[in-house]
Amino acid sequence: MKSLQNKIFLFFVLLLLMVQAIAFWTLYSGNKNQETAEINNRLSTAKTIFTELFDRRLDYLAAFAETAAKDYGLKEVFNDDTRSLLVALNNHRKRIDADLAMAISAEGIITGQLQRYFQDDTRSKIKQGAERNTAFRFADWLESGQTAHLYIIDKAIYQLSLSPVTVGTKTLGWIAFGFQIDQRLAKEFMAITNLNTDFILKYDDMWRLIASSTENAQSGQELTLAESVIQGVIPPQYIATHSLITEFDQQEFGVVMYGLRANFIALLQEQWWRFLILTALTLFVSLTSAYLIAASISKPIKRLVAQAKVIASGDYQQTVTLNDDNEIGQLADEFNQMQAAVLQREEAITHSGNHDPLTDLPNRNALNQTLKDFTEQQQSFVLLHLNLSRLKDVNDTLGHDVGDEVIKELARRLQALCLSTNFKKLVHLGADEFVLLADHLEIDDTVAQIQAELEPTFDYQGISLQLQVRMGVAISPEHSSDAKTLVQMADTALHHTRDTSKLVQIYQPELDVNTVDRLNLINDLKQAIPAGELELHFQPKMCLKTRIVTHAEALVRWQHPNLGMIPPDDFIHIAEQTGQIKALTRWVFTTALAQSNIWKTLGLDLNVAVNISAENLKEADFHQFICQSLMTANVAPEKVTLEVTESSVVEDPESAIKLLSEFKSHGMKISIDDYGTGYSSLAQLKQLPVHELKIDKSFVQRLEHDADDQIIVRSTIELAHNMGLHVVAEGIEDEFSLNWLAEHDCELAQGYFISRPKPAAELTTWLLEQQALHQSSAESKANIKENT
C-alpha cells in the first residue's frame, strides 16, 4: 500500500476530490442561492402579478364606468323610470360581465342596483340588489373623485369603480360597476402563478376566508395557514407571500399566495441529478487518468526496484535500460554504473578475503578451497606446512618492518619455486606460516628443493639474514584424504619440530598428542579425586651416612577405571594446563600429611616430600593452605619438604622466592627438584631459599660408566655444600652409585636400588622391616664393636 504509485494515485485522488468538492460546494451553494432567489423571485413576481391583476381590474372598471357614464342613452333615462334605467345599466354591466352595477342619484340615493348571484359554477342570475332606494353608504366616495374601492355587500366583496354621470358640468348622479373578489379570481390567479391563493377579510377583529383557489378547502385549515402567513410566519414546507389592503373602513383585506416548497424544489432537483451524474463521470475520468499517470511514473521506478533486487541477489550481469532522458533515466544510468562499481569492489573484497594482505598470496580460505578441489579429485599430493624460524628475533631486534620484508622475501622465493617446479600451490596462512602443495614425489627431493631455494642469505639493508624454515609434512591420501585433517596433521608435524629441533618432520600418528584419549583424560581427571581413583605412592630417601631411611617422596598415581595405572607424567601436565593441579596438589599434600601421622604412630620418623608445581606457586592462598593443613594435621613443619623444579622458579623468580622464603622461615624444607636440567643460573640458585638440591636422575643413572657425569655430580655436590645446601641424588639403580655418592658426601639417595615407589601400606611394612634390620645390624655392629 505504501508504493509510490499508490502515493501518487492517492495524492491525485485527494487533489481531485478536493477540486470536485470545491466545485460541488460552489455549485451547491450557488444553486441553493439560485433556489432561494428563484423562490423569492417567484413570490415577488406572484405578488406583482396579483397587484397588477387587481389594479388592472380596477382600471378596467374605472375606465368602463367613466365611458358608460358618458353614454347619452344612459343619461337620457338616468332620471326616468327605474325599469328603463335598470335595462340601460344592465346593458352596460353585460359588456364587461360585471358582478355589480349601481346607479346613484345626485342626492346620493341608490336608484338602481344589479347583482349577480351564482347558482353553480357556470350559471348565474342577475337580481336587483337589496340596497335600492337606500342612501349610498359612502357619500364621501361620491365627492372625492377617487374611483376605485372595495365594496362589501353582506359577505361578498367587490372591487368597485364609481363614475359621475354629467351633462356638461352638471352632475346627474353616479353609476358604479364592480367585480366580485371570489374563487374565480383566486383560480385565475393560481392558473397564472401556480400558487394557491386565499382571500381573507378581517372584520370585527376576526379573519374570515372569503375565497380560496383550493376546491373544497377545509376553510379552518386554510384560514389558519393564511392567517399565519399574513402575520409573517410561514410554515417551512411552504413558500408564501401576502398582500394587505387596509384602506377601507376598519377592515383589512388580505391576499395570501402560497405553494408547497417541494413542488418548486422538484424543478431544481432534476438539475441536481444531471449535475451529480456529471460530477461522478468527471470523477471517474479524472481518477482513471490519475491512476494512469501514477502508473506511468512508477513503472520505470518499479523496473529499477526489480533491477536493485537482481543486483542484491549478486547478479551483476544484467543492466537496466530506460529510454528516458529525465531523472529516472539518469537514475537508471547511475544504477548501471553503481552496479559496475559494486562488482569491482566485491571482486576486490573477494580477493582480499582470499589473499594475505602482506604478500598478496592466497590465504587459508583459498587453501581450503584448493584442498577441497584436490580431495574431491582424489589427487595424491604433499602438504608442507612451513614455518619461518626465528622471525620473532628479527621482529624484536630489527623491527616489524624488517620482519615483514623477510616474510615477503620468503614468499617471493617460494613463489619462484612454484613457477619452476612441481609445486602446485603456495598459501600464506599469515605471519610466518606458509603452506605448499606439491606433487607426491620423493619427499626428500622436495624438501631439498625448498631448502636449496632458501639457502642464499637475504641481504636487507646490509644485514644478512638466514631464511630457515621448519616443515611439517602430511601426505594425501597416505595420511588422510580429508582436507582439514591433513592440515592438522601437517601442523602437528610442524609443532613437533619445535620440540625436537628438527627441520623437517613427516607426520606420524605417534606425534599426535592431542588424541581422543588425551581429551578424555582431561574430562576424567575431574572425577578422579572425588571418585578416589588417585592414590599416593611413596619412594623412600636414604641417609647415605647412616643408611637409614629418613625421608619419603609422595608420588601420585591414577588408577583409571578403563586405562589402568596412568603415570604422573601423562596427567600432571594436563592438570597443570587445565587448572586442576590446585586440587591435585592439595589432595596430595593433605594425604601425605595423614600418612606422616600414621607413620608417626608406628614410630617411623619420616620427612615427607611433596612436589609443588609452578602453578601452585601462583595461587594466592597457597601459603595459607599449607600452614592451615599443617596445623590441622598437627605435623611439624620440619617433617615436610616441598620439592620445586628449577623451571617453576624461573618463570617468576621474585614472587616464588618470596613464597619459598616464607615456607622456609616457617620451618619447612625446600628442595630444588631435577637440578641440572633447567637453566637456572648460579646467581639465581644463590638467591633461592632452599635447603637442598636434588640432582636429576639423568646424571646419576650412568654414574658408574660415565666419567663426565661423575665430574658433574661431584662438582654439584661440592657446589651445594659450599653454598650450605644438602644434596639429594635420585635415580640410584646400583650399589656403585650408592657407594660412590656416599663417598662423595651426598646426603640423601633415592632410587630403585633402594626402593621403588610403593603404596603407603606396602612401604610401611618395608620400613618396619628395614628398621628392624637396621636395629639388629646396629646391635650386631655394636656387638661387634663391643666385641672388638
Partner: protein, 231 residues
C-alpha cells in the same frame, strides 16, 4: 386666413346683435311710461359679479308681453358661447355651429330633453322650449363642452355686465320677485330670490351669501388637439 376673417365678421355681427338685445332692457333712452330698475350683484369677496342671470318675475299677476327676440347659442371653439344663455319660454332659440366640425348637442335629466347633430356652419332652431326650467347642455362628441340655457316666464331677464349690473325697463310697477341664478352658485337650485316692490325708478343691490364656484373651463384636457392640425 379665410376662416379667421369669417370668424371676425361673425363676432362683429354677434356684438351688434347683443347690443340690440341689451338695449331692450336698458334704461338708456327709456320711455316715459316705463320704470327703470337697476340691479347690481356682488358677493362678500367680489364686487360686480359678471354674467349672472337676473330676472324679474311679477308676483300675483301674469302675462306680460312675450319677448319675441330670438337668442342664439353658438358653438365656437368647441365650447358653448355664451356659457350661459337666458330666454323666455317659447322664444326662438337658435343653435349656431360656428366651428368647422360637427357637434352633437343634447340635454338630459330635465323636462327639456333634446338631442341633435349640427354640422359645421349650420344653425338649428327647431327645439321648442315651452317649460320654464334650467337646461344643462352638453355635446356628445366633445365631453368638455358645457352650456346652460335658463328658460324664464318673464320678459324681464338679463345678465350682469362686467360691473355686475343689469337694468330693466318695466311697464308696470308693483311687486316683483328678483331671481339671481348661476349654475355655480352655491345655494339651493343655484339661485337667490329677493322680493321687491317697484314703484319708481329704483336700484337694488344683491349680495350673494356664498361665493360662486369656479366656472368649469370648456377645454379639451388632452395634451394636444389633433383636430387643429387637421385641415
Amino acid at each position: 386666413m379665410n376662416n379667421k376673417i369669417f370668424t371676425f365678421v361673425l363676432l362683429l355681427f354677434w356684438m351688434l346683435l347683443s347690443v340690440n338685445a341689451y338695449s331692450f332692457n336698458s334704461c338708456d333712452g327709456k320711455k316715459q311710461e316705463k320704470t327703470c330698475v337697476q340691479i347690481s350683484v356682488s358677493s362678500q369677496a367680489e364686487k360686480g359679479l359678471k354674467d349672472l342671470v337676473v330676472y324679474l318675475e311679477p308676483l300675483g299677476w301674469q302675462a306680460l308681453v312675450p319677448a319675441t327676440k330670438p337668442i342664439i347659442i353658438g358653438q365656437l371653439g368647441k365650447s358653448f358661447t355664451p356659457y350661459i344663455s337666458v330666454s323666455q319660454v317659447n322664444s326662438k332659440v337658435e343653435f349656431a355651429n360656428q366651428d368647422d366640425i360637427t357637434h352633437h348637442i343634447y340635454s338630459a335629466g330635465s323636462d327639456n330633453k333634446f338631442s341633435f347633430k349640427i354640422r359645421a356652419g349650420q344653425t338649428n332652431s327647431t327645439i321648442q322650449f315651452n317649460q320654464a326650467s334650467e337646461v344643462a347642455m352638453g355635446c356628445n362628441i366633445h365631453d368638455w363642452m358645457s352650456g346652460y340655457l335658463l328658460l324664464v316666464n318673464t320678459p324681464y331677464f338679463g345678465k350682469t355686465d362686467s360691473q355686475g349690473q343689469v337694468s330693466f325697463d318695466i311697464d308696470k310697477q308693483g311687486k316683483y320677485k328678483v331671481v339671481v341664478w348661476h349654475p355655480q352658485m352655491q345655494s339651493e337650485n343655484n339661485r337667490m330670490i329677493k322680493e321687491v316692490v317697484i314703484s319708481t325708478d329704483s336700484a337694488f343691490a344683491i349680495t350673494l351669501k356664498n361665493e360662486i364656484s369656479e366656472i368649469p373651463r370648456q377645454e379639451n384636457d388632452d395634451d394636444f388637439d389633433f383636430l387643429s392640425d387637421y385641415e
